[in-house]
């Protein structure tokens, strides 16, 4: 279920994903990767990969719903497509009912598809506007050679009724249906080949709230009746909280936290999950404001931050061992470093900046010297130098930058396992998959290109 500890086989697991990676080549075309240089040999070839999914592991048990949540661009949809082998994985494996999908191809893979189906976000564009609803639902059965023509028609009508449509709609075209009804047609089509596993990629996010609830309820009823297993992708945490049994939180190609639903929502152990939960507006005017919002943009997946990928935005970045600052002072340093990186202010006077960013304490010792140096650069308008000092000597020396976190902690509210990829959990972890040598070398310099 998580990347921690031995990947022992869970007998109940319908799907096991192990260390799955999917990189996209950023340079398409013949000359895409060719760059010009002003030195011999004048022409260079470079290639950069978009690391959309980078080392993801989890299990899905039979009959459960795993919710997958994250901001747009974090790799949710790519993960779903790679799991279904609609995209070829770069590395890693996906075991479905014991068979490794990543190694299958051709006819055996096509036959496996009967057991795994997908529902897409836009109900409009996932239905052929020139086909009637009946044939749309029958098509997968035909492709897999199920039943004869009459049998297929009977089954299509039965399924239409099951998903809450009128069987008499068999002869209508998709345009005659509303958004919620189209999504029901998609459900019927996915169910037609009697699959065990359905990947739902944002199935209700295009629908109105009242319709959303209808479709969610139907999906739950169908799950019970047909014993389905769902991988449910959404960016809406309320929907995830309603439908999931377990929830995985994704950030920039990695799963940062995975736990039972109640545990994850009530006892989040990763700062990113906490930030996400904090950011959602609650439909209650008395709920009060939010604590602290995430700032900054999601970094590029072409060159993601080293160590923990969330560290460039994390409000709880850990202080490097080399320094001995108070928590407030360290927060100030981090805040100042990020402000310089974003060029968020115009002020160049060191004293004014000290007053603005370090009003409750200027770091002393080595840290103080470094800060003075950075402030000096800013005064001389040398922003890049200031940024380099602050980034390399502070942010990149944190353990968050030098070691990739992977811990399993005790669940406080349920008996399920709780995976949290955050170094803050180092002391309470029951299992860890972190390279200890990397932790010992926490004080060493980060690689120069891994700035934030």
């Amino acid at each position: 279920m998580s990347g921690v500890g031995p990947a022992e086989s869970d007998p109940d697991a319908l799907l096991q994903v192990r260390d799955l990676c999917k990189y996209f080549d950023n340079d398409s075309g013949l000359l895409g990767s060719v760059g010009l240089d002003d030195e011999f040999p004048y022409v260079t070839r470079s290639s950069s990969n978009v690391r959309a999914v980078d080392g993801v592991s989890f299990d899905i048990k039979e009959g459960e719903t795993l919710g997958l949540v994250g901001e747009s661009g974090c790799g949710k949809s790519t993960l779903a497509r790679t799991v279904l082998r609609l995209l070829e994985p770069t590395s890693g494996s996906v075991y479905f009912q014991g068979e490794d999908l990543a190694s299958l191809s051709g006819e055996p893979l096509r036959r496996m598809r009967k057991d795994m189906q997908m529902i897409f976000q836009d109900p409009q564009s996932s239905l052929d506007p020139r086909m009637k609803v009946g044939p749309i639902v029958e098509e997968p059965m035909q492709a897999h050679g199920m039943l004869d023509e009459e049998g297929r028609e009977a089954r299509a009508k039965e399924l239409l009724e099951k998903v809450g449509l009128d069987p008499q709609h068999y002869n209508r075209y998709p345009h005659a249906f509303s958004g919620g009804q189209r999504q029901r047609v998609n459900l019927a089509r996915a169910l037609s080949v009697n699959p065990d596993f359905i990947v739902c990629d944002e199935p209700v996010s295009a629908l109105d709230v009242s319709i959303q609830a209808q479709v969610l309820n139907t999906m739950e009823e169908l799950q019970e009746e047909f014993d389905l297993t769902y991988l449910f992708i959404a960016h809406d945490l309320s929907v995830i909280r309603h439908i999931s049994d377990r929830v995985a939180v994704m950030y920039l190609g990695n799963i940062v936290e995975l736990a039972d639903k109640e545990e994850l929502f009530e006892n989040p152990r990763h700062p990113y999950t906490r930030a996400l939960l904090d950011a959602i507006p609650v439909p209650d005017p008395r709920s009060g404001g939010r604590d602290e919002l995430l700032s900054g943009d999601v970094p590029s997946p072409i060159d993601p931050p080293s160590g923990c990928r969330f560290r460039t935005r994390c409000p709880k970045l850990i202080q490097p061992e080399a320094y001995d600052m108070t928590d407030e002072t360290w927060r100030n340093v981090v805040r100042f470093q990020r402000a310089v990186k974003r060029r968020a202010f115009e002020e160049t006077d060191p004293d004014a900046l000290r007053g603005r960013y370090f009003d409750d304490g200027v770091p002393s010792g080595d840290a103080g010297t470094l800060l003075d140096e950075a402030l000096g650069h800013i005064q001389r308008d040398e922003w890049d130098d200031a940024e380099a000092i602050l980034t390399e000597r502070f942010a990149d020396e944190s353990v968050c930058a030098t070691a990739k976190p992977a811990y399993e902690v005790e669940s406080a509210l349920t008996d399920g396992r709780h995976y949290a990829a955050c170094h803050l959990r180092r002391d309470e972890a029951v299992a860890s998959a972190v390279d200890e040598s990397a932790l010992d070398g926490a004080a060493r310099l980060g690689t120069p290109e891994a700035d934030d």
């Binding site: 345009h175 439908i243 008395r286």
Partner: protein, 373 residues
């Protein structure tokens, strides 16, 4: 409170299509006072966007504002009167099209749309578009306008505004583009900003940032907002007063706390019950049955009766108007549901009607497949 900044009375906007007249906005009235954020919520097809376009007189053929009054700071944006022959014609004091264009839109009332990419021209730089807007609307020379544009970009939290000034819209992320539009809306310091689902297309984290920023800027500039949304959570977070729309009508008006804690209309309650919650686990969602009927041929009586769990025979016959249902001394809270005593049309003695639970899905079949909005 003093005079309202904007006052809308009995506004009616209709679309004349081949299939019949779509009564997209059918007699809505509301006020916006200085410095407040007024919510306009409803599902798609409720007529929210048509209502806001009508306020700016941006409704295009086949649509037409057919009745009502819109007053803004004492000026008449829209108003009709009968001439000698009994025909309706615009009143003399109604602002002309060129006055609307030169004085009102952008300068006095600005609008922010849902999709920031469609509101920005992809072939001009972001800074250039902002500068041009400031130059024209505030009569500044290009250099001053540029300074002002950069200041506005910094104000809305765009990092390194001097260098990003020369970038094109595609180089901005969705949240950044929406910030640019907010900068553009604020640039002329309008008295009223209409925000039409500005955060719907954004991620929750970005949405949070934008909502926070709007609240801050609103305090700083004391701008009034009309916030159009379908999301009750956003309403709860930022609005002062709320208008709930259903099928072209406002069915409940209240201060935000009263709307959530003393809900008067069954539609509002149903909307709140059908939402999954982020802060607690809801075992069972109670969806509203069926779909919103077409605005071409709305149900008789109360328009919500066909989906209402509390509907009785009388709801089919009596069309409820908005009436004040608040307790004495409390803030105004109006609702349009005959179950309240203020109506006295015999709701309590009327037999309950079967809502179309079974045929809800088929009843929603539309011939056009499109939405009224």
């Amino acid at each position: 409170m003093t005079e309202p900044l904007l006052s809308v009375r009995d506004l009616k906007t209709q679309f004349f299509t081949e299939d019949g007249t779509v009564r997209a906005v059918d007699g809505i009235s509301f006020d916006v006072y200085e410095g407040e954020i007024v919510g306009l919520v409803g599902e798609s097809g409720a007529g929210k966007s048509v209502a806001t376009s009508s306020i700016l007189r941006l409704v295009d053929s086949p649509g037409e504002i057919v009745g009502g009054e819109i007053e803004f700071k004492g000026e008449t944006i829209f108003g009709l009167e009968e001439d000698g022959a009994g025909e309706l014609r615009p009143r003399d004091e109604m602002l002309t099209e060129s006055e609307m264009r030169k004085r009102i839109r952008g300068r006095e009332i600005a609008i922010i749309f849902q999709d920031p990419m469609e509101s920005l021209n992809p072939v001009f730089t972001v800074g250039g578009q902002l500068r041009e807007f400031i130059e024209i609307n505030r009569d500044l020379d290009p250099d001053e306008a540029r300074e002002e544009a950069i200041d506005m970009l910094r104000e809305v939290g765009i990092p390194a505004p001097e260098s990003r000034y020369d970038e094109y819209p595609h180089q901005f992320s969705g949240g950044m583009r929406q910030r640019v539009l907010i900068a553009m809306a604020l640039a002329c310091q309008p008295d009223l900003i209409i925000a039409d689902e500005p955060t719907t297309a954004l991620d929750v984290t970005v949405e949070g940032e934008i909502l926070e920023m709007v609240t801050d800027l609103q305090e700083k500039y004391d701008t009034s907002f009309i916030w159009v949304t379908h999301d009750m959570s956003v309403v709860a977070e930022i609005c002062d007063r709320v208008n709930v729309m259903y099928l072209g009508e406002i069915i409940e008006q209240a201060e935000v706390d009263d709307l959530f804690y003393d809900t008067k209309h069954p539609y509002t309650s149903a909307l709140l019950d059908s939402m999954p919650r982020p802060d607690k686990t809801v075992d069972e969602l109670r969806p509203i049955e069926g779909v919103m009927p077409e605005a071409i041929n709305p149900p008789s009586g109360c328009r919500f009766h066909s989906r209402c769990p509390e509907a009785r025979e009388v709801c089919r016959e009596v069309h409820p108007d908005l009436r004040d249902l608040s307790d004495e001394g409390a803030a105004t809270h109006t609702g349009a549901c005959v179950k309240h005593d203020a109506f006295d049309v015999g709701y309590d003695d009327s037999p309950a009607i079967e809502t179309q639970t079974g045929s809800g899905f088929s009843a929603g079949l539309t011939e056009t497949g499109g939405e009224a909005e």
